[in-house]
Amino acid sequence: MALLRTTELTKRFDGLVANNAIDLEVPEGSLFAVIGPNGAGKTTFFSMVSGFLSSTSGSIEFNGRDITRVPQHEIAAMGLVRTFQLVQLFKGMSVAENVEVGCHLATRGGVAASLFRPAWFRKQEREVRERAHELLEFVGLSAQADLDAELLPYGQQRLLEVARAMAAKPKLLLLDEPAAGLNTQETEGLAHIIQKINAQGTTVLLIEHDVALVTRIAHRIAVLDFGRKIAEGTPDEIKAHPEVIAAYLGVEEASNA
């Protein structure tokens, strides 16, 4: 069953067609990747799916429900959680607190609950702290839990963002170029964590620039170029696809192929 399905999803910025009628089906439980050269429209696609940007036309369906016009916080509440290409950490909060904010959707209670602190609320706060601790352990940041999040090195900030997103218990995790700016070793660690997340039952949709990483870990890959989907298939199929080679290596090689 498709957890996420986009139909003819299109986004125009004035004259520029950033996404042109993109059809995509992300099966439940899969580790799906969208790749493409710079400016291919990957992030635009992502932003529309997560409700960050409204689409010009076409539709998005998540978990059997049409979410094309649903506001972002509701989409997140349904279990579709994204990370950002430029890390969006909560400055002025500790590493652990960042993950605790991630538990927002999975918890309840507002001002009144915080003032009166009924038993269920205290229990929930304890669970939030435990969950944050577990997730930090999961991504290997438990030693830095009390540190100001801003002080983390870049690679660890990326891991923190993933841990934070996982705290929301997503059905579908959208990762926007999580390996951007990471060195080989860090990328390796991240790939391992993404695979673990997927193996534990979370569907992952990954946007990535790093083709080597994607072809190694993804089950299925879609390729965007100039706002269009030019190919979709298994990593092996994609590697052999003439249009993909053309998009990445230039047109002349493709005409020879």
Partner: protein, 327 residues
């Protein structure tokens, strides 16, 4: 010390939490209050006002500090509180406590109505809109003489108390205000260290990030605005009941500037910043008053020095010591 500081397995302890340095500052503030009680005299009035401004700043800190939004117009809500208390007590003979609570409710409703459209603005635009809110309120208090008595203001506002028991002595007024400030502070702590408070602080860290995790950003901003208004209104009422006289200037734009200064001196977004800023700034004004002509200049110099050398305010200076120790 050679062991790296980050390996501690104890629960969170870092700059934005309630560290020992901040507890120490609170202790100093309490000492200042105690000293004033012993010393008496004019200093009593100074510290009374410091406590009142402290209440105001705790609320302001929710909106400006934790949520990271600019407001230069919270004095409007202090104005509602002050005039609410004055009118209800003087014209209608209400109990001061009831008048205070009723005025808070009115201020809260106004904050809801004003905040809903205004908080769509961001950054400078929000700052301008809130500033004009303060100015408009100031003008209303001057012009709407039928209700506010214009420049004449209200005199004879009764002091706080319950039933026949009223707090008349200046010393006891200070004690009561300090206790109320403590209560307001305690409430703010509870709100801060919760799901709600984390949501607010996430917004100031990254609005996009918070929204992506399901925090309803507009609603949270509005609630923070209302909380700030409730504290401001309480402070406005307390002023009226403490001093016994109010006029438009009390709640004018100068109040916005003053509380803004206090919050930044104490440390915007820190836990004890609002209280420390209110006490330090109030005392500072009295200290520089002695320097005669150079009073304003001395005041400005001290403030500039704070902003340049302690941009996160006095409450964040603890982190400085910590870093030195770890190095």
């Amino acid at each position: 010390m050679t062991s790296p500081a980050i390996t501690s397995a104890k629960p969170a302890k870092f700059a934005s939490r309630f560290d020992r340095f901040q507890v120490g500052l609170l202790g100093l503030a309490a000492l200042a209050v105690a000293g004033t009680l012993v010393y008496g005299g004019y200093l009593l009035t100074v510290m009374q006002l410091a406590m009142i401004y402290g209440v105001f700043c705790i609320g302001l800190n929710f909106f400006m500090g934790y949520t990271g939004q600019a407001s230069f117009g919270q004095n409007a809500f202090a104005c509602i509180g002050g005039y609410g208390s004055a009118i209800l007590c003087v014209q209608y003979g209400w109990e001061p406590i009831l008048a205070l609570v009723a005025s808070m409710a009115i201020a809260g409703v106004f904050a809801l109505i004003i905040g809903y459209p205004t908080l769509r603005l961001r950054g400078h635009y929000l700052a301008m809109a809130t500033f004009s809110l303060g100015l408009i309120t100031y003008d209303i208090t001057i012009q709407w003489t039928a209700v506010t008595q214009g420049y004449m203001g209200y005199a004879g506002i009764p002091p706080l108390g319950i039933g026949s028991f009223t707090i008349d002595s200046e010393r006891w007024k200070l004690v009561a205000l300090a206790l109320l400030l403590g209560f307001g502070f305690w409430l703010s702590l509870r709100m801060r260290d919760s799901r709600f408070g984390r949501g607010l602080r996430a917004i100031s860290g990254s609005e996009n990030g918070a929204a992506a995790l399901g925090v309803r950003v507009p609603r949270f901003k509005l609630i923070a605005f209302i909380i700030a208004a409730l504290y401001a209104s309480a402070a406005g009422s307390l002023f009226a009941h403490t001093v016994g006289f109010i006029s438009p200037e009390v709640y004018g734009p100068q109040m916005a500037v003053m509380t803004f200064t206090m919050l930044f001196v104490g440390g915007v977004g820190t836990i004890v910043g609002p209280i420390i800023g209110a006490v330090v700034t109030s005392l500072l004004q009295e200290v520089v008053r002695g320097s005669g002509h150079f009073q304003d200049i001395a005041y400005a110099v001290v403030l500039l020095a704070t902003l340049i050398y302690a941009p996160k305010g006095l409450s964040a200076l603890g982190a400085l010591f910590r870093r030195k120790k770890e190095a």
